[in-house]
């Protein structure tokens, strides 16, 4: 912690940049490290700081930052569009841990990445009928109302406790999604009155199995309730709500796994757009971070949306469970350490 603060102090000072001022800048930096060294207590600590600084702070130029971030974001876009979670799960840790960007700006970039993944992938998913448009739109009632409630409740509810609760919910979802791995057959009948009235049932062409798979939708009411919670949570914690949407559709409404993922992709853009305006107004969307993230994630989502049809439902389920387990730990850590 101490090391990181020392580095940031020097990186922020304008004297370190120019050829003339560099000697003065680095000297003051060294003095700073001497004091850091005494705090840390050890020669190795000080040497580590210098090495860290030369490779990390000095070496990476804005161009290098933009190029590497585009590549990483593209990978985030592929993963996000496959499992229906958006790119935030990769973008936030990469920005904070690898590039040492403040969490506020990382979250702003993450919301941009979610919208980019959602719109980029959903264009293909809707066209190829992989996403269930009508079900998605129906469930958006829950997510948008949840997001608005969340905006009112931000000051009332304890955020850290919420992270812990959310982590527990995700842990359970991961377990339940994992347990369902053998029951893959789609439903052929439905007595769900809302689903029948709105015509929410659908069918999709499964490239991996090489046939059209019709499916029925059930559990619209518990599904809608879970979507409300998903919208609420994403507004309160500033995280993508796909992690709750996919299990809700997969476990409660019995949509095929791929359809759940594609429909979640379709929906998360709207949920994220509902809070993106706030992040913009608060000054959390830094163009030099958001631009490479948006470009990379969009490219990745185009690749991911072409892959989903060809990959087996079971594979998507496995990837989803693994990603969910990682987010579960991440949330728990944020809840415990603050």
């Amino acid at each position: 912690m101490v090391l990181r603060r020392a580095t940031r102090d020097q990186g922020g000072s304008p004297t370190g940049a120019g050829p003339g001022g560099s000697s003065g800048g680095s000297r003051s930096g060294e003095e700073h490290h001497l004091s850091t060294q005494t705090v840390v207590g050890g020669l190795s600590g000080a040497r580590g700081t210098n090495k860290y600084e030369s490779t990390y702070n000095r070496g990476v130029t804005p161009l290098g930052f933009v190029l590497t971030l585009v590549v990483i974001s593209a990978l985030a876009g592929v993963l996000g569009s496959l499992v229906g979670l958006g790119g935030g799960i990769v973008v936030v840790p990469v920005l904070t841990l690898l590039y040492h960007v403040d969490i506020r700006l990382a979250i702003g970039a993450s919301i941009v990445s979610v919208i980019a993944t959602s719109s980029g992938a959903a264009a293909a998913y809707v066209r190829d009928r992989m996403a269930n448009l009508r079900t998605g739109m129906f469930l958006e009632i829950g997510t948008t109302v949840g997001a608005i409630s969340g905006a009112f409740l931000t000051t009332v509810l304890p955020v850290r406790a919420l992270f812990v609760v959310f982590s527990a919910v995700l842990g359970y979802s991961a377990f339940a999604t994992f347990r369902k791995r053998h029951a893959a057959a789609a439903l052929t009948t439905s007595d769900d009155r809302i689903a029948n009235a709105l015509g929410l049932h659908g069918s999709y062409y499964d490239q991996a199995e090489g046939r059209e798979i019709p499916y029925k939708v059930v559990g619209t009411r518990p599904g809608l309730a879970l979507m409300y919670v998903a919208g609420l949570v994403s507004a309160l914690l500033g995280i993508g709500s796909g992690a709750l949407k996919v299990p809700a559709m997969d476990l409660t409404m019995h949509l095929p796994m791929k359809v759940s993922s594609a429909t979640s992709n379709f929906m998360i853009g709207v949920t994220a757009a509902a809070s993106a305006g706030v992040y913009f107004a608060r000054g959390q969307i830094d163009p030099i971070i958001a631009a490479p993230v948006a470009i990379g994630v969009l490219g990745g989502s185009l690749v991911g949306s072409r892959l989903l049809g060809r990959v087996e439902n079971a594979t998507i389920r496995w990837i989803f469970v693994a990603v969910l387990a990682v987010i579960c730990i991440e949330m728990l850590q944020r809840g415990v350490t603050g």
Binding site: G64, D286, I288
Partner: protein, 150 residues
């Protein structure tokens, strides 16, 4: 990519009932909105990013003393109100152009919901018109609640 699936669609439409054809038209309209939205916004974002590097040649080295950290720290300067955005654009700054592209990206899902309201209205699907209208109202309401538009 587009032509192949469009052909598939036309072939599929012949076998479909009129209801299915209606559903298909809405799907294609929404897919088009999303595609146009992301294409335009990514083009604007890329142009703005390029403009930033043109205006600041010191950003464009692969190695050098100028660290990206100055642009991503908490004290970095960029527009986050519409007044500031106007000033950035008037000065022809790349950051302003990037922000315009990002705002277009944020508006794409909103536009998608608006287009679905119109499509369902046009297809005389009353239940889905109400559903999408409600979502649109909630979405616009959330922008007001967030203090973005008020």
């Amino acid at each position: 990519m587009t032509t192949r699936s469009d052909e598939a669609t036309t072939r599929g439409d012949e076998e479909m009932s009129t209801d299915d054809a209606k559903v298909r038209r809405v799907e294609l309209a929404i897919s088009l909105v999303l595609r146009v939205g992301v294409t335009v916004s990514v083009a604007v974002i890329a142009a703005g990013l390029a403009l930033m590097f043109v205006h600041h040649p010191e950003y464009g080295h692969l190695s050098g003393p100028f660290s990206y950290h100055r642009l991503t720290s908490n004290s970095a300067q960029f527009p986050h109100t519409f007044t500031q955005l106007g000033a950035y654009l008037e000065a022809g700054k790349g950051r302003g152009v990037v922000v315009v592209g990002i705002l277009l990206l944020i508006l794409t899902p909103v536009l998608r919901v608006a287009v679905s309201v119109v499509s369902y209205l046009y297809e005389r699907d009353r239940a889905m018109t109400l559903v999408t209208l409600f979502v649109l109202a909630a979405l616009v309401g959330s922008f007001f609640l967030g203090g973005v538009l008020s």
